[in-house]
């Protein structure tokens, strides 16, 4: 075996090691959810830290996205004389795709990195070891609460983001057209049905889980050294963002089969 083949084999072995580690981490996470003694107070604290503190960022981004979409869509629809379809087009694109993905990507950047860095620094400063040797369960206290909090909060943030995006669209639309808010929101609500909302909502649960899981895994398994905190935060963002796109692609396929035959 030459050096290049050996290097390739080492790369694959590392990848398989990582995949195996993640499976073990996932099984430990599942086991600890049902192990009893759920840390409710820490879960609520994490929901506040993760959800409430991300609301402003998600809100501003969604508002701008809604406004920009209206401004971008308008010339095309006017060309076909279909400007009355602007609220419908915005709502469908926002609820089905743009809202969940943009919110998830913002959360991947903000939440996955902060969890990765926090747990990474706890690892470096031996806080996780201290928890373990005291007989407490760091997985239950640090990992289960964070993953479940992100899984719970990302769908909520997405719904809030969608509503703010529609408000942004309404304001942008009123720069050029005069439409009452009653008519605008009536059109928005009429545009979506169960098959638009449910798949989008379900995929945001998976987005949330992936973001929390990746952040916790990267932080919890970081090496001992200050540089590894940065590495954990950085790789948490990259990996979580990639997972958002992978889950989105899978979700679109499944949704197409189930709802849009």
């Amino acid at each position: 075996m030459n050096a290049v083949q050996e290097q390739e084999l080492t790369g694959w072995r590392k990848w398989l090691d990582g995949a195996g580690d993640q499976c073990i981490f996932f099984s430990r996470f599942l086991k600890n959810i049902f192990a009893g003694g759920f840390e409710w107070s820490e879960f609520v604290r994490q929901c506040y830290e993760i959800g409430y503190r991300s609301m402003m960022l998600v809100g501003i981004t969604s508002f701008i996205m809604g406004a920009v979409l209206i401004l971008q869509l308008r010339p095309s629809l006017v060309e076909f004389g279909e400007e009355s379809m602007l609220p419908v087009t915005l709502t469908v694109s926002l609820v089905r795709e743009i809202g969940p993905v943009i919110t998830a990507l913002i959360c991947a950047g903000k939440i996955a990195s902060s969890i990765g860095a926090e747990l990474g620094s706890m690892k470096v400063t031996e806080q996780i070891d201290a928890m373990e040797v005291s007989g407490a369960n760091p997985l239950q206290y640090l990992v289960v609460t964070r993953i479940l909090a992100v899984t719970f909060m990302v769908p909520l943030l997405t719904i809030i983001g969608d509503v703010i995006g529609l408000i942004g669209g309404y304001i942008a639309l009123n720069f050029t057209d005069n439409i009452s808010y009653v008519l605008y929101f009536h059109k928005c609500v009429a545009a979506i049905d169960f098959s638009d909302f449910l798949p989008a909502f379900v995929k945001t649960i998976f987005f949330g889980f992936a973001i929390g899981f990746v952040g916790c895994y990267k932080g919890f398994n970081s090496n001992k050294g200050t540089a590894s905190v940065g590495i954990a935060a950085n790789s948490a963002v990259v990996t979580a963002s990639l997972w958002v796109f992978v889950i989105d692609a899978i979700a679109v396929q499944i949704t197409s089969i189930l709802f849009y035959k």
């Binding site: 806080q127 070891d129 201290a130 005291s134 007989g135």
Partner: protein, 260 residues
């Protein structure tokens, strides 16, 4: 092991209960063999100091004792049970009897001092009586002289204060064994001395058995009932502070060079 034989003449120990027994302990990280052949017995109520150069694997030994690392070979028994063979429940029960003071103090930096001390009481001992929790927190904080810092965050404490709070957090569950990982590293001589004296007074107050990993000779002089010196993954000398001070072993002498 010439020095060992030499010192054993000076140390005539009465027969005591051995609570930590290590035989032929081995541990490697990759190709680096850190522990080659560790043999040690620690009696109940004893303060044992492990001296050695940095990177010699002193901390690895105590991390094996508490089950953070799994040894590659040999036997390590605590309270008569082999640590490597313990299941999660047994390991948790063992850890409830052991206090581990980390080099950095390892305080949970998102929690106040009070919350740091509450953590083992509510999560490990499962105490629910708020009055009892408050009493125990105040008792240990008084013991380490930091009752005023009860509502402070670790970031607001000095290095010595963090070590004291770390010590209070480990003592709050009333462990039978205390493991100190370089408790005076990074501290000024006055604070180091205070911490060493605190270790001794806490041992007397709580009747703990202690293993203190250090290369601080002042700490060893104050706190040690017995000292073992580690070199190249083995213990090369054993004895009291005064006994080892007279040793002819070059490595042992190097540690005692600066002591008058």
């Amino acid at each position: 092991m010439e020095a060992v034989k030499e010192q054993k003449k000076h140390v005539a120990k009465p027969k005591k209960e051995v609570i930590i027994q290590i035989k032929g302990l081995k541990k490697s990280f990759g190709k680096k063999e850190v522990l080659k052949d560790i043999n040690l017995e620690v009696d109940r109520g004893e303060n044992l100091v492990v001296l050695g150069k940095s990177g010699e694997g002193k901390s690895v030994t105590i991390e094996c004792i508490v089950g953070l690392l799994i040894p590659d070979g040999g036997s390590l028994k605590v309270f008569g049970d082999e640590v490597a063979n313990m299941n999660n429940k047994q390991l948790k029960e063992l850890r409830m009897k052991i206090g581990f003071l980390f080099q950095s103090g390892a305080l949970y930096d998102s929690m106040t001092v009070r919350e740091n001390l509450e953590f083992p009481l509510t999560r490990v001992l499962k105490l629910t009586d708020e009055h009892e929790i408050e009493e125990r927190i105040k008792e240990v904080l008084e013991g380490v002289g930091l009752l005023d810092a009860i509502d402070k965050l670790p970031a607001d404490l000095s290095g010595g204060m963090r070590k004291r709070v770390g010590l209070a957090r480990t003592l709050i569950i009333k462990p039978e064994i205390m493991l100190y990982d370089e408790p005076t590293t990074g501290l000024d001589p006055i604070t180091s001395r205070e911490i060493s004296e605190l270790i001794l007074s806490m041992q007397k107050k709580y009747k703990t058995t202690s293993i203190i990993i250090t290369h601080d000779m002042e700490c060893a002089r104050i706190a040690a009932d017995r000292i073992v010196v580690m070199d190249d993954g083995k213990y090369i000398a054993e004895g009291t502070f005064d006994g080892l001070h007279k040793s002819n072993n070059e490595i042992v002498k190097a540690f005692f060079n600066d002591i008058l």
